[in-house]
Symmetry: C7
């Protein structure tokens, strides 16, 4: 997992997408190749949450997330990340 | 029912779709083959629920659910599952 | 009225549609044959209601309901039922 | 005013449309013949209201209402009625 | 100002449109002839307001209002009125 | 700044648009000529605010506002004004 | 960072866009050139926040923001700024 010094706002998290299909703590997981296919990645930074609602995920969690248009892509020191809202995180693996 | 080590977030549940029409605790149930036909399956993992709203369904429940576009498909160790929100669960059988 | 062992979730109810136009406790009721025509039926199962809002209808009530696309059809032991939300129930007859 | 034994749910009311333009307690009232023209009628049954919000209209009130698509028509013992939500009632005459 | 015996429901008011451009308490006011041009009139009846929100305007107030499609027209004893929600009232003149 | 005797309702304010680009307390400000370009003006009347939410702007404030279709134009004693909601005010200059 | 004497209303902030790609406290950050690409800039003024919700960002923060159509452009003393809502700020760098 990369180290980044970015603080997402509110309920946003910074996710490093998984490079390829690989064995996770839950076993082999192959997301379907559908239009709204869930994707795998690792949480590298989390926001403070919204008012009275701290986030559930934490840095280091392997997660499945929906690949929505709203996700923002950025490249930090050559590594590509996604910034999304926690509600786009489907499950912790 | 399969064993999976996935933790759905918020009010999401992991459902293993029923393989075929079979007798359930409620008797023979044949969902209509309509555009929004309800489907049968078994709950295999549940999220913690939303703030102040724990989930009603539990692991092992046979359920009917609506087949909406929003449901996410994943394959874990060769078995196909759906991840959906509890609000997409129509009834416990 | 049929006996079914299905537990609708939240504010959903299971309704057995009336077989034909027949005299109810309120007299002869003929829903108009309009696009959104109300339909008659009998409640055969009710959900626990939503948080702090128990349901008003109970098993055995004859009801009028709107025939919306959102209603789910299922067949249990050869009898066809509808599952709908209580808000789709217009009146008790 | 007809007698009907129907219990509207929530904030719904049962209205018997006025047969023709006639003098009401407020004088001669002629709704405009516009696309969304208000209509006159008499309340013949009222629901219990929504949670913490009892209804304002009561059985016997002459009312003006908007003629929206959402209004449900039913015929009870040969008389045609409308079932609508109280929010569709514009004024008491 | 006309006298009418109509009780608007909730946050609705009955407005008698101004016959022509005339001097008001605020001076000569000429609404622009735009698509959504504000109109002048006099409040002739007010509803009880919504739950915990009494109305601000009172009978006799000269007001500016938006000419929206949602306004209902009625004719009482030969005089034409508009029924609208207080939120459609822009200002007291 | 003109004097007008108009009382906007709720969270509405009356704004006198700036005649031309001129130096303000914040210096020379040139709004971009874009589709949704912000405009400058002076507050000449303010509403009482919404329930539990008094307004922030006061009479005499120079402001930037978005030029939305929803703004109402009126002419009082020969001077043209806009009536808008405070949420359409972007900043105090 | 420029000095400006503008007070954004509510949850709005004034942002000076970054002139070019440059090293930030978090390292080299290259936003993707996508349709909804995040942009970098510096906060130069902040609003008081919404009722019971003070803002999280402060003057001087380097931020990533989404380039939405809703952002307002203004030029103050020759420098171009954007006014946006804090919810459009994605992360602090």
């Amino acid at each position: 997992m990369s180290q980044v010094n970015i603080k997402p706002l509110a309920d946003r998290v910074l996710v490093e997408p998984a490079a390829a299909e690989e064995k996770t703590a839950s076993g082999i997981i192959i997301p379907e190749t559908a239009k709204e296919k869930p994707q795998r990645g690792t949480i590298v930074a989390v926001g403070p949450g919204k008012k009275d609602e701290p986030l559930t995920v934490k840095v280091g969690d392997e997660v499945l997330y929906g690949k929505f248009a709203g996700n923002e892509k950025i490249t930090v020191e050559g590594t590509e990340y996604l910034i999304m809202r926690e509600t786009d995180i489907i499950a912790i693996l």
